[in-house]
């Protein structure tokens, strides 16, 4: 099975993150950048499908030069190769444009199965799987907590607000995963060494038949008008429990009219 995993490099959500003062785009230079956490689960799932059914796993990333670090990290977990779509013009692309570029790259890779995280920790839009499926004319099985592959048949269990659903599709398909699906492996030393030699192909939008003016802010269908840091919350009253902590909590809730 020809599997492609989408990997996005994002600012570490465990650290302070910011937008750039000069350009309304994510500050990726001064941030600590990591693989989007949910994508690690997608990589793990791809490796498990490969282990059970054979085939090849390709990592696909769109992002600046430095996203190469995320690609090496991803490869160290075990995928076979990577494609990096990189170009300065891509900075500031919105989801719609990103889906166009990724769909074009997927068009050259012709995967049976595309795996990705259900959302990125920076944008958190949860739309990429559906956008790609729409562009490629293939199925999207979103928010998987379990994936079963049987020949060309895919079955996914997905959490919903009221319970869960079982959904099926035939390859080719995009499957997005939550962090409930598996436990990603840590890269082994051998894996880290091997990753250095794995092939990484770089592509520009032009290589995919997309002009620079069609990506980045120029090609976006949305624009950030302004951004500001949210004023930090003021911490309020803090009391120590002297045997009446519960009563004091209720006093507060009453004063705020919640009780």
């Amino acid at each position: 099975m020809n599997i492609v995993v989408l990997v996005k490099q994002v600012p570490d959500s465990g650290a302070e993150r910011a937008l750039r003062a000069d350009s309304d785009t994510v500050d990726r230079e001064s941030a600590t950048n990591v693989i989007n956490e949910m994508d690690e689960y997608a990589i793990e799932e791809a490796l498990r499908v490969r282990e059970a059914h054979g085939g090849e796993v390709t990592v696909l990333t769109m992002g600046p030069e430095q996203a190469g670090e995320a690609i090496r990290k991803a490869l160290s977990m075990g995928p076979d190769k990577a494609v990096h779509v990189v170009d300065d013009a891509l900075r500031g692309s919105d989801a719609l444009t990103t889906s166009r570029v990724l769909a074009a790259a997927l068009g050259t890779l012709k995967p049976d199965l595309v795996l990705c995280g259900a959302e990125s920790t920076d944008g958190r839009m949860q739309v990429m799987a559906q956008m790609l499926a729409e562009r490629l004319g293939i199925a999207a099985l979103t928010g998987a907590r379990k994936l079963t592959v049987d020949g060309s048949s895919l079955t996914v269990e997905r959490q919903t607000e009221d319970g869960y659903e079982v959904v099926t599709a035939t390859t080719a398909a995009v499957v997005s995963v939550w962090d409930t699906i598996n436990e990603p492996r840590y890269p082994s030393f051998k894996g880290i060494m091997a990753a250095k030699k794995k092939p990484v192909t770089t592509l520009s939008p032009a290589d995919l038949g997309i002009a620079p003016a069609e990506v980045g802010p120029a090609g976006a269908a949305t624009a950030v008008v302004a951004h500001a840091k949210r004023p930090p919350r003021q911490s309020g009253t803090k009391v120590s429990d002297e045997g009446d902590g519960g009563v004091k909590l209720v006093d507060f809730l009453v004063s705020e009219k919640f009780v």
Binding site: L96, E165, A169, T222, K238, D241, F252
Partner: protein
């Protein structure tokens, strides 16, 4: 705007979106579901100001994931030419909107908490640590509104019902739903829609102890949430997880019990209106956010609070 319903009732986020839409004119609501879905929803939609209700009903809309709904929306939008299309910023709302954005080559903004008169939208980003204002610059603006961003206000209208033909081609029938399993959720409100959320963290210390969290939630009429640490420890199911890899909530009151307040958790609750916390560590970062904090053992403080609420009511 797209109507979301669950169990034959209009979802609260839909009423919020209707309330928002009324700022800009008389909104039309779109019901997408199996035959017979709309009948139970019309009164509520009219009560909240839907001037028109487009009704698209077909088994095809329920038998597959969102693609058929997006297909119906695309043809409706092309026919009617609305000023904008609004959705609830829920998983389904965003997924329909994502497909629609591609079909219509239109800009999509998600997690919007307010829309100004000129159409610019406010979005909290990075765990609510920054606020972005953004606009759609191409196509029909597609705007997904985060639940609990505003209070739904009734404004009765005569909802004219207009049936919409459902034509779904095979390309939208690729992701088939073969089974839907409802898990009993009891009488508690849905987590992202609840006005009050009471969450437990690692400090709750066991699955059995979550009864303490549930008791307080029930006394306050709230939903129960859990931190990632509590979920990873197996204390509470994943669908109740609040934070970076779980749900984002923005209730009137958020009560954090035994939650330290790691940045990943704050990502999911930082925009709550009022925050109260109980934690035995006086240095826990949750206290930096809390309007009211109790430094103490939640296993003593919370049962006492529950008893006190019972006594006062």
């Amino acid at each position: 705007m797209v109507v979301e319903q669950a169990g034959g009732e209009v979802k609260k986020v839909t009423l919020e979106v209707l309330t928002l839409a009324r700022q800009f004119g008389s909104p039309a609501a779109v019901v997408l579901g199996r035959p017979g879905t709309a009948a139970a929803l019309l009164d509520k939609l009219a009560e909240y100001g839907a001037a028109k209700v487009y009704v698209a009903e077909s088994d095809d809309l329920e038998a597959y994931l969102v693609a058929p709904k997006a297909a119906v929306m695309a043809s409706l939008v092309r026919e009617v030419g609305p000023a904008a299309v609004l959705f609830g910023s829920t998983q389904e709302g965003k997924e329909i909107a994502g497909r629609l954005a591609v079909k219509l080559d239109s800009g999509l903004l998600t997690d919007v908490t307010a829309v100004a008169e000129d159409g610019t939208a406010t979005q909290p980003v990075f765990a609510g640590s920054a606020i972005v204002t953004a606009k759609v610059t191409r196509g029909v603006p597609l705007v997904a509104v985060r639940p609990n961003s505003l209070t739904p206000v009734p404004a009765p209208a005569e909802a004219t019902v207009s049936p919409v033909p459902v034509v779904v081609d095979e390309s939208a029938k690729l992701a088939r739903v073969v089974e839907r399993v409802a898990e009993p959720k009891g009488a508690r409100p849905e987590l992202t829609e609840a006005s009050i959320v009471v969450s437990g963290g690692r400090g709750v210390a066991s699955a059995a102890n979550f009864a303490v969290v549930e008791e307080l939630a029930d006394l306050l009429g709230g939903a129960v949430g859990a931190s990632r640490a509590a979920v990873d420890s197996g204390f509470y199911p994943h669908q109740f997880q609040v934070g970076q890899t779980g749900k984002t909530v923005s209730p009137q009151l958020y009560v954090a019990l035994g939650i330290s307040g790691a940045i990943q958790h704050r990502a999911g609750m930082q925009t709550s209106k009022v925050i109260a916390a109980v934690n035995k560590d006086p240095e826990a970062p949750i206290f930096d956010l809390a309007d009211f904090g109790v430094v103490g053992d939640l296993h003593r403080v919370v049962p006492q609070a529950a008893e006190e609420i019972r006594n006062r009511s």
